[in-house]
Symmetry: D2
Subunit: 244 residues, 4 copies
């Protein structure tokens, strides 16, 4: 694809609007920080827009999705406020080829659970000041890991640990460890229909993770990787053809 | 597991009840033929019961599922008559460890689509007299393929062809070819939560496939493979533990 | 990578030199036909050179490999004439990041067996006039399948069938069927160290398969996919670091 | 398989013979401790023998291997003393269906590198007193993890860390973390030909890891899992059959 990739960064946007201490970390919202990182690293390669829960149709109407090549999703305390109609619409676009990047607490979003079929539950802990997360690349040939330091050191993060109830991923790219001893499959990919899905766990609202240069590199790589590989944009359909 | 495996063979049971030509092929129902094959090959290793759509709660009430180690599922023209409540109940039991074997046109069942997240669509054709299906084992170390002939020759079958819109399977066991030239990933496995899922495509209502000795061998192997590996019987849950 | 990809097409080059009927099909050699296809489709994106068995060091000296981003390999009747020293040199470059595309009868090359560890044996048949091969895409999100027709129809080919004794591939992209009923995993990928490997089976010396536009598209996609993802060019090494 | 599984525990046996402090930890050798654990947990299910480097043909002659269903392999400082002839003989038996369980520093054994094709290099560290290793189960439906605690706590171990240069495993069962922050894919499976391979990393000669009840449980599960699934005992071979 030499065309500009159209990226939508979606964020529920509730923490920043209601908790001043989080607004202080993310003054332009989590979506703002993510969008800024993508533009910084990918430049003209992308056209980035943002959308939040309170936008009409959550900013995810039919036209908005039809004009999105890759959708990033951050949500946490308002998963149940996302309408089922929007979730199904997003699902159809993923099946049709739109890339989907699910971030951190988005593991419990309706769309992630709907695409994967599992509970997406995990072990978590968030002590005062967080824990150090080390993100190890276990897949050096993977495009998502290109140019990323080994390991990524994130000084403070919420702990996410195994067992992480997801299907066996297509590609396991990153595994994290935490101060408390847990491990987590923190960078994993899936495909559904014609769509590619990347889940990346670093990025809690209480820590400035989306300003971390290495995290930004991973997300930029993820956008490139998740872009549709063909011009077709519709979910696979049943057919009843003649013999070849 | 040295204990007896408790197996439930579920069939919508509509074709046999409404189409005499199909009742002639399967006089005890598709479920009857499958149950008979399992008992024949697994003997005391299993206790097999059957259930159909018209049973109360489709024969899949909470107690029935709690007492099922492996559930086989055959459906075709009545997928939409299966209640969403039962589908969600089955899903919870699969996540909790119950094995699930989905058969043939069950690819379009609510439970299969719900567990996998994709459309599960495919290419199909059913000419007069069917097509010959050859089922090739591409995974000789897999327990599901143990003792199975290479290839399984099924003289007449409906054609199912690629692209089959499923997630990348954990294990690809069988690939079929058909007279018309199509190929199909006809034996594939997945895991969801603590549960193991096996999809096996041979078995249309218009052909006596479930009497085929090799098909019976595959299903018997599948039941053994899909049995829970631990005594735990609940879906994975979120937890918030102290450091180790 | 916006830099030019340096591609080496290696061919043992024996059939064309000794059998006029094959020289008639491939007047510039199998390597010539492949190189021509890559240049036609990838243009300035690639710089393509060819090498054959009879070149000094088979055309695969240290410098030649150091200046190769992706190596394509065609061999058949002269596998045992490839020196073990060259095979080990190629292996080190693959582990260090050089892409490797192994073609057709290259399944029995020393380098393929050495990278995979298995026998790489298969079922084959080559009746007068060949058999029709249909190449089905089972992985529509894969870059190697981008823009490729479903199925690719190859009118005449040698039959390759399962069981194909390879390790479970990372990605299964194509499955072929043949007139005689066999199936074959005809497009599969692996990684070894920092290197990416793609095996693609269509392409016997007796048939003009490397002039087929769809086959050429697959090989061009394969070259892009197999290109190194990082600038590093050395095999992974043991290390004994301090704690992070 | 209801027949007794024939298990051979192979150990180079050099540390115990030359270093009294290691002989003190493993008075019957590392092989003795492993064999004892298998017999304890599997009882009549197995017949266990041991073999070491100094036995004739390293205790791995043709008859010994022909009478082995599962071979466990521990080596460290004497990898290069293992004869290439024996390595190739073991390889043929694995391809023919013999299970292979490679332990800890066996990652650098000739047989493991030969089966996998990669360097099998990794990051390591062994400070005075070792580091705590936590072994996390990320695959709760896998037979090798049946009945194993979450996590396994090993108070003192040598550290092994990523990047571990192995091919993408078929199944990822365990991931370890260490005091120093590293992670490691510590329980992984592969198949080669008709043979199943399990690599499990805990078990350095300086620590009494093979007396740990949970480690013993994993090895016992591993033996069951790696047992041949069919009665056939020969590597896959090329064939040239008629159409089906």
């Amino acid at each position: 694809m030499t065309m500009t990739l159209r990226v939508t960064v979606w964020n529920e946007g509730v923490h920043e609007a209601t908790q001043p201490e989080i607004a202080a970390i993310y003054p332009h919202g989590i979506h703002g920080a993510i969008a800024e990182g993508l533009s910084e690293l990918l430049g003209d390669e992308v056209a980035v827009r943002t959308a939040t829960l309170d936008d009409p149709e959550h900013g995810l109407g039919e036209q908005a999705l039809a004009e999105t090549d890759v959708l990033l999703w951050w949500g946490h305390i308002a998963h149940d406020r996302v309408s089922d109609e929007v979730v199904e619409r997003v699902r159809q676009h993923v099946l049709g080829g739109m890339g989907l990047i699910v971030l951190h607490s988005g593991h419990f979003s309706k769309i992630f659970i709907r695409m994967l079929g599992t509970t997406c539950s995990l072990r978590w802990r968030n002590p005062e000041g967080g824990e150090r997360e080390l993100v190890w690349n276990v897949n050096p040939t993977h495009p998502i890991a290109a140019g990323v330091e080994q390991p990524i050191v994130i000084d403070a993060q919420e702990m996410y640990g195994e067992f992480f109830d997801i299907p066996t991923p297509d590609d396991l790219v990153f595994i994290s460890s935490f101060t408390g001893g847990e491990v987590f499959r923190s960078g994993v990919t899936f495909t559904r229909g014609r769509g590619k899905i990347f889940y990346f766990s670093p990025g809690d609202q209480e820590y400035p993770v989306y300003f971390h240069p290495q995290v930004r590199r991973v997300l930029a790589n993820g956008v490139r990787w998740a872009a549709p590989v063909t011009g077709v944009r519709r979910a696979p359909e049943v057919s009843n053809p003649q013999p070849v």
